[in-house]
């Protein structure tokens, strides 16, 4: 049963991700990305990481993608096929390099973790809000705080950029 659900989510995630990169219509691409993220949330839930699954839905599928859609609608980007950029080769090259680096990073991390031990018992509290919160505020406090400062900097930057544009239009 669990395996069946797992495969359903996997197929859904891959298919919607493919749709997202192949379609040329912005709204369809955005909604495919929402579907991908929802399927990923389902996979997290299957891995017992309930908190991560719900946060994935709230933050990525619920908040960030709504903003994407908002911008697409606000700019009223045409439904027709978009013009291809001139330097397609460099874009493709950049994409390949980025994906390659990600791939290498993933392999390195996977090797570091090592193969899962068959039959190894997982802690009862694994993935619960309490356990994740405890880890965040003890073992991973420094990365957590650094990430929050980074986000704060991004917010301040966004506010300043938006402000300057209003001033320019007035002048």
């Amino acid at each position: 049963m669990e395996l069946l659900i797992f495969y359903a989510f996997c197929v859904g995630a891959v298919v919607s991700a493919l749709l997202m990169v192949t379609t040329k219509r912005p709204v369809r691409a955005a909604m495919s990305l929402v579907a991908t993220m929802s399927f990923l949330a389902g996979l997290y839930a299957l891995l017992n990481a309930h908190l991560i699954a719900v946060l994935q839905l709230i933050v990525y599928a619920g908040a960030i993608m709504v903003l994407f859609l908002f911008v697409i609608m606000l700019l009223n980007i045409e439904e027709k096929e978009g013009k291809l950029a001139k330097n397609v080769f460099f874009i493709q090259l950049a994409g390949t390099v980025v994906v390659g680096i990600l791939m290498v990073a993933m392999v390195v991390v996977m090797n570091k973790i090592g193969a899962p031990v068959a039959g190894a018992a997982v802690d009862e509290t694994f993935g619960t809000t309490k356990a994740v919160g405890w880890m965040l505020f003890t073992k991973y406090l420094l990365p957590f705080e650094i990430a929050s400062v980074l986000l704060l900097a991004a917010i301040v930057g966004a506010v300043i950029l938006a402000k300057r544009r209003i001033d320019n239009s007035k002048a």
Binding site: I58, A61, A63, V66, L69
Partner: protein
């Protein structure tokens, strides 16, 4: 295993019947009647069967027949796929949010422990926020896919409004989570057995902020700028008819029920009667009904109390809807970012400080 399955199915069927079968159609009638009473009119009383009008209740029946048989119209320029998908995205979260809301406590019945909640999730209330975030797509896609200016404006307003109020709504609940130390709605409900430990006494500011944000999230007056009929015809669902139209309408009513249920669970003692503990209730009934009968009776009483409270908050929301005028768009946004958000942050800091010191 089989017993578990039957128990879960029974709970799902019960909640589904209560929500979709009772609340949704009845609320359509209540809304009309409420507006009639508040505006000193007689109200819906024309639909009759063999001369019986049943104080206008047959209007719900007439509505259902009319909407089911109505032509399902899709505008020529509309994006058919998303135009059809949007009402489903709006309705499904509204129905599934009820899965984590406890409508009663725990009971020992024939040697089985029955926990009156469909899914007792560890993440609890966060699940509702996740669904609320997804419900935004229904509105936004409906507005965009209709290819109508009214709809598009409604969709744009809705996406900005719902996104903004989600932030303040999330922060208003954190106070409650700190006080009760759990995200599980069953834990929060059980912690309110003592009348003076009800959420409303511990988090009065949180309640006001949550209620305001929830009404804004549900896009009802005074926050109905995404559908504002005097400005945008009907906003994001202008181009909908028949069953798809009624799905948006049902989503709104079911969200109203969900909001009331959450308010009841978080702030108003969930299934508890003031000054009556679960043990007291059980001992009263066991005098004449035996242990199993007492548990069943206590269960029935608690469910009734819970839905009575829910009905009260639905009434409150309807009264607010027919009392207040609509806010202007900039007022809605200013209220969220400059009043509710700072207020909920202050509430959160004070709550954290007090809990830390005590």
């Amino acid at each position: 295993m089989l017993a578990d399955l039957i128990e879960s199915l029974a709970k799902i069927v019960f909640i589904f019947t209560v929500n979709v079968g009772v609340f949704a159609p009845i609320l359509g009638w209540v809304e009309r009647k409420q507006s009639a009473v508040m505006q000193d009119r007689i109200g819906a009383n024309r639909a009759d069967i063999l001369g019986f009008t049943a104080i206008g209740l047959f209007h719900s029946l007439a509505d259902a027949v009319k909407l089911l048989t109505k032509e399902d119209f899709v505008p020529a320029n509309a994006n058919k796929f998303f135009h059809t998908l949007a009402p489903f995205i709006a309705l499904v979260p509204a129905i599934s949010a009820f899965a984590i809301i406890p409508f009663g406590g725990r009971y020992e019945l024939f040697g089985r422990e029955i926990n009156l909640v469909i899914a007792d999730l560890d993440v609890g209330i966060l699940y509702v926020f996740a669904l609320a975030g997804l419900a935004t797509y229904g509105t936004v896609l409906a507005g965009w896919s209709s290819r109508s200016n009214w709809s598009l404006l409604g969709g744009l307003r809705a996406s900005a409004q719902m996104l903004s109020y989600e932030v303040a709504m999330g922060l208003s609940i954190i106070g409650i989570i700190i006080v009760y130390g759990s995200l599980r709605l069953t834990d929060i409900g059980a912690a309110q057995e003592n009348f003076f430990r009800w959420g409303i006494f511990l988090q009065p500011v949180g309640f006001i902020i949550y209620m305001t944000c929830a009404i804004a999230e549900n896009k009802r007056i005074p926050f109905d700028i995404p559908e504002a009929e005097s400005e945008l015809v009907a906003g994001y669902f202008t181009e909908y008819s028949g069953m798809k139209f009624v799905m948006f309408w049902m989503a709104e009513f079911l969200e109203m029920v969900t909001i009331s249920a959450i308010v009841t669970t978080l702030f108003f003692g969930a299934w508890h009667i003031p000054f009556v503990t679960d043990a007291m209730l059980l001992s009263w009934f066991s005098g004449f009904a035996g242990p199993n009968g007492a548990a069943a009776l206590a269960m029935a009483v608690n469910i009734a109390v819970f839905f009575a409270k829910v009905s009260f908050f639905i009434w409150l929301q309807m009264t607010i809807r027919w009392t207040l005028p609509r806010f202007r768009y900039d007022q809605v946004m200013r209220m969220c970012w400059k009043m509710l958000l700072p207020l909920s942050l202050i509430n959160l800091s004070i709550t954290g400080l007090v809990v830390l010191l005590l």
